[in-house]
Structure formats: structure tokens, C-alpha cells
């Protein structure tokens, strides 16, 4: 009895198979070009030749992309919490969340300014904070403390990715070392 591959799948080439089973996992808010660049850079470094080597290389790309994603999610979460706590600092004079009453829009704007790219806006927000004797580090520390449990998920994944990357690279090197070696100037001698 022999089993055949699923006919709905394109098996014309290893590349087609890899495209099917290793489709890029890019979320809507992620940059597909960055993913393509990362993939290209890693493939240039690894130079996979055999189809299975290519599969392992694709897995390494996915792992690197996961790490980038988890860092981004962690930073976004922390930034959002920082803004919430900064608003508290502007309104209440202490870093913390505000609940229970409406907040004037100007405080929202000041909290946004604190993380703005524009240097002048950032400086003016920092000056207001200085008057209230609060430092951005203090706000950041309190924001971090408040969502430490949520951030732990990403920290754990990022730390875990390092071990996985090392092991995957070892596997790749082992597969590469087992690649049949080509003998140059070899001739086939007919018996």
C-alpha cells in the first residue's frame, strides 16, 4: 500500500511546497517588507540548498519574526500604560491611573506630548512634569509594575526564543553537514 500526497497541494517543486506550508505569518499591522528583508538576510547568511534545509531556514525566519513581534507587542503595551500613568501625573500630581471622572482633553494632549517625536512638545510636557516633581522614569517604573504580569508573557517568549534559536541553528548545521559532498572531476566508470 502506498500513500500519495494530497493532490490539492502544489507539489511541482520544493519551493511551491515551502510556500504552502511556510506562508509568511504577518499580521495586518506588521510590515510585510520588513519580513521580506529579514527573510532575505537570513537566507543569504544560511545559504540553504536542500529542501529540508530550506524548511529549517524558514523556521528560523519565523522564529526571528516572532521575537520581533513579541518585542513590539511588549513595547506597545508598556507605552500605552505609560501614557495612562502620565495622564494621572498631569491631573493628580502622582503617577497612576485615573478612574471615576472625566479628564480634560488638555491632559490627554500632555500625556501624548510626553512620548511625541517632536522635541519641543516633549520638552514642554517634561517641564510641566518637573513642576510637579515627577520624573518620566518614575512614571515608567510604576507603569511597568502595574502590567508586570502581562509583560511577563512577552519577556518569557523572548527569552525562550533565544534557546530555540540556538537549538534550531544546531539542527540546521547538522543537516548541512550531512549534505552529500560533490567530488570534483569525478568520472563514472562503466563496469
Amino acid at each position: 500500500m502506498s500513500k500519495k500526497i494530497d493532490t490539492s497541494m502544489d507539489i511541482s517543486s520544493p519551493e511551491a511546497l515551502l510556500r504552502t506550508i511556510c506562508a509568511p505569518d504577518v499580521l495586518p499591522d506588521e510590515d510585510a517588507d520588513s519580513f521580506a528583508y529579514l527573510r532575505q538576510a537570513l537566507f543569504q547568511d544560511l545559504e540553504p540548498k536542500l529542501p529540508y534545509e530550506q524548511l529549517l531556514a524558514e523556521q528560523m525566519v519565523a522564529l526571528e519574526w516572532d521575537t520581533v513581534r513579541y518585542r513590539r507587542l511588549r513595547d506597545n503595551l508598556l507605552r500605552s500604560e505609560f501614557r495612562t500613568f502620565a495622564k494621572g501625573a498631569f491631573v493628580l500630581g502622582r503617577a497612576g491611573p485615573i478612574t471615576g471622572y472625566r479628564v480634560d482633553e488638555k491632559y490627554d494632549a500632555q500625556a501624548q506630548d510626553l512620548v511625541a517625536q517632536d522635541r519641543d512638545r516633549r520638552q514642554s510636557a517634561l517641564n510641566i512634569l518637573e513642576e510637579k516633581q515627577i520624573t518620566p522614569s518614575e512614571i515608567m517604573a510604576k507603569a511597568y509594575q502595574s502590567i508586570a504580569k502581562d509583560l511577563e508573557v512577552f519577556e518569557r517568549q523572548i527569552a525562550d526564543a533565544e534557546t530555540r534559536r540556538r537549538k534550531l541553528r544546531d539542527d540546521y548545521e547538522r543537516v548541512r553537514a550531512s549534505r552529500p559532498k560533490q567530488v570534483e572531476d569525478a568520472e563514472v566508470i562503466e563496469p
Binding site: M1, S2, K3, K4, I5, D6, M9, I11, P14, L17, L18, T20, I21, D25, L27, P51, Y52, Q54, L55, A62, D66, R69, Y70, L73, N76, L77, S80, T99, G100, Y101, R102, I147, K149, D150, V153, F154, Q157, D160, R164, K167, D171, R174, V175, S178
Partner: protein, 184 residues
Amino acid sequence: MTTERQKRANVANAAKSTGPRTAEGRTRSAGNARKHGLNSAPLWDEVSPYLALITGSAQIDSLALEARSRAARDLAEAEARLARCLGVERRHVVHMAEMAARQPPSVKEKIANASKETEGSLALSEWQRPKFSDATTAKVKNVRPPPDPNRPAALHQTLTTLMRYRKEAEAQRRKALRRWLEVQ
């Protein structure tokens, strides 16, 4: 102790309910204990692309117990299982990020939002405790609602479980790869 009458009633009741009868019902009940399927053997459709990549062939003689084809099949199965675990874990972490960003509003925030909408007249019905008058509804109030599957503790617990399955799948893959390289 069970009385004779109770025994007879048990037998009579058991005869009325003998489980699913149709093929569809039996198939459905066969999966009753299934939680996520991460431990189950991958389907042939999931395995075959990996096998093609490993051996360069789209076919395998599944009855041949030759060491090379067995090692290739094991490696393909391990790859398919790992891919399944990784996909589930990835989606779960992204879901956790979404849940962490979407913090539920506190009661005070609800009041503040309500006052924005109704200009001072608070819609108290939302947080007023329901009044129970008769005995039947009084019983109902003691029924606890099922716990929210998106609560942080549950999400963390699920992630720990998913990571464990993924690590097992990785170990299985490494072992299968070692065997595959030995028979090369």
C-alpha cells in the same frame, strides 16, 4: 445501600439511554474528551508535504519498515506536529496581547461614561443588584456564571500548557532528526 427497587430503576433507565446510535453521533462523542488535539497524531495531509521535502519524493511505501523510510516518516510527523503547536501558541500570544490592551472599564469609568451620555442622569440599572422575589429565582441567583476564558489567569495557564506541548514537539523533532541523520 441500593434497594432492589432502585436497582431495577437503574437498569430500566440505563436501557433507555445507550449513547449515540448514528455514525455521526458516535463520531461526535468520540471527540468528547478532546481539548485541543495538540497531542494527537497529525493527519496524513499534514505530514505528506514535510515528507516530500525530507525525502524529495511524494510517495512512501507505508508498509515497508525499512529504517530510512521509517525515520523519514517519523521526522515528517514530528515536523507536522511542531508546526501545529507553534501555530496555536503564536495565535494565543497575540490574543493575550489584545486582551491585555483591552482592559475592562471599572465601575467608576462606567459611571463617568454614562454621565457623559445622559448629562448627569445616571443609568443605575446596569449596576443595581437584581431583586429576587420568589424561591425559584432566589435559587438561580446562587448559580455562578462560568468563568471568563479570557481572564488573565486562564490565559496564562493556557500559554503554559501550549508551551509545554510545543517543547515536547521540539524534543520529538530533534530525536527524529537524529535518527534520520543516522540512516542517511
